[in-house]
Symmetry: C2
Subunit: 163 residues, 2 copies
DNA sequence: GGAGTGATACTCGGATATCTGGTGTCCGAGTTTTCGCGG
DNA sequence: CCGCGAAAACTCGGACACCAGATATCCGAGTATCACTCC
């Protein structure tokens, strides 16, 4: 029940891309440098996000990554699932149907009660993340950082952005 | 974001122990045989549950495991956390404080907005699990299995239970 | 016959291998830029 | 001076090592039982 480190990287990168003007891109090198993380490994994560249709990549010079949609139309859930995989965390192996006292002909309820409880919890988790858009995060991040850092951030973006 | 296979084993074993009369125990061998899983590995999980104070173990002949408390006083959350560890799934490395445009003196909000969003989702997940007691699960499992399997289950328990 | 004692059998607990998936890295495919050359 | 073309530089995409944690297992510590012996 431990999610990968790339999730944090992804969310921060997405928040940074949300600050870009329409159509502009940032290369992976800049994204990695901005957060001081491994560029090679970040590329692996970005690849998944591109495959999931959340990011759009452009090759060659002046290439880079940008958001595929408006930040308000991208939920945190989509980002997390794109990186971590959309399979549920709890895997039910139906061990209730194993053991000495079950016969192949016995009919069980369609859903194991334990499985149902875990699914319900995971639905609550997903609903909470689905309710927050990348635009919300971007706005909150803007409020959470000091004004001077925000100003320097805008300058940094202008220096590294490609169109 | 994938939880271990032992979680399912644990929850089913706990539901089985909830069916035992007061003070009775079941050895790990019986628990493993009932679900047709590896006894050795199940012991590892049970050890963690005993260390967490959810199960009570007894050594020697007529020894085994029993619940430490009334099933109504044990939540699914406690069981899951005892097996998977109580650390949150999302780990915030504070990478917002890394990178080229941050200075050691800058003051940030106490909680990273991204971290806060993930924490909120995880709180929802935990709240959902905390709201379900082992007694609830036991009752639902009893309703979900055919009557003949339930009857054979009672017989099987009487054959393997120790007091 | 009853009590004490030793051996025994059974249980859990901790230490030890193995293996899958996350972590980290590298090189190749593709595209735009740019420089040089010819008209 | 302008257009064309080839080379170069920069980007992402996929394939390849490495390592931590989950998975799986075994052997030792502890205890209740049981049988045997002695009173």
């Amino acid at each position: 029940m431990k999610m990968g480190e790339g999730v944090e990287w992804t969310l921060h990168c997405a928040a940074l891309l949300a600050a870009l003007p329409e159509g502009a891109v940032l290369p992976a090198r800049a994204l990695a440098e901005f957060h001081d993380v491994s560029e090679s490994y970040l590329l692996k994560q970005l690849k998944g996000l591109t495959a999931a249709g959340l990011f759009v990549s452009t090759s060659g010079p002046k290439g880079g990554y940008r958001l595929a949609r408006d930040p308000a139309q991208i939920s945190l859930l989509e980002l997390v699932l794109a990186v971590e995989g959309d399979q549920p965390a709890f895997r039910c192996a139906e061990i209730r149907r194993c053991g000495p006292l079950v016969s192949p002909t016995t009919v069980y309820s369609p859903l194991c009660p334990i499985h149902a409880a875990m699914q319900q919890a995971e639905r609550a988790w997903r609903a909470s993340l689905a309710d927050i858009s990348l635009a919300d995060i971007f706005e909150r991040v803007g409020d959470s950082i000091p004004s001077d850092v925000g100003a320097r951030g805008k300058i940094w973006i202008q220096e590294h952005v490609r169109s």
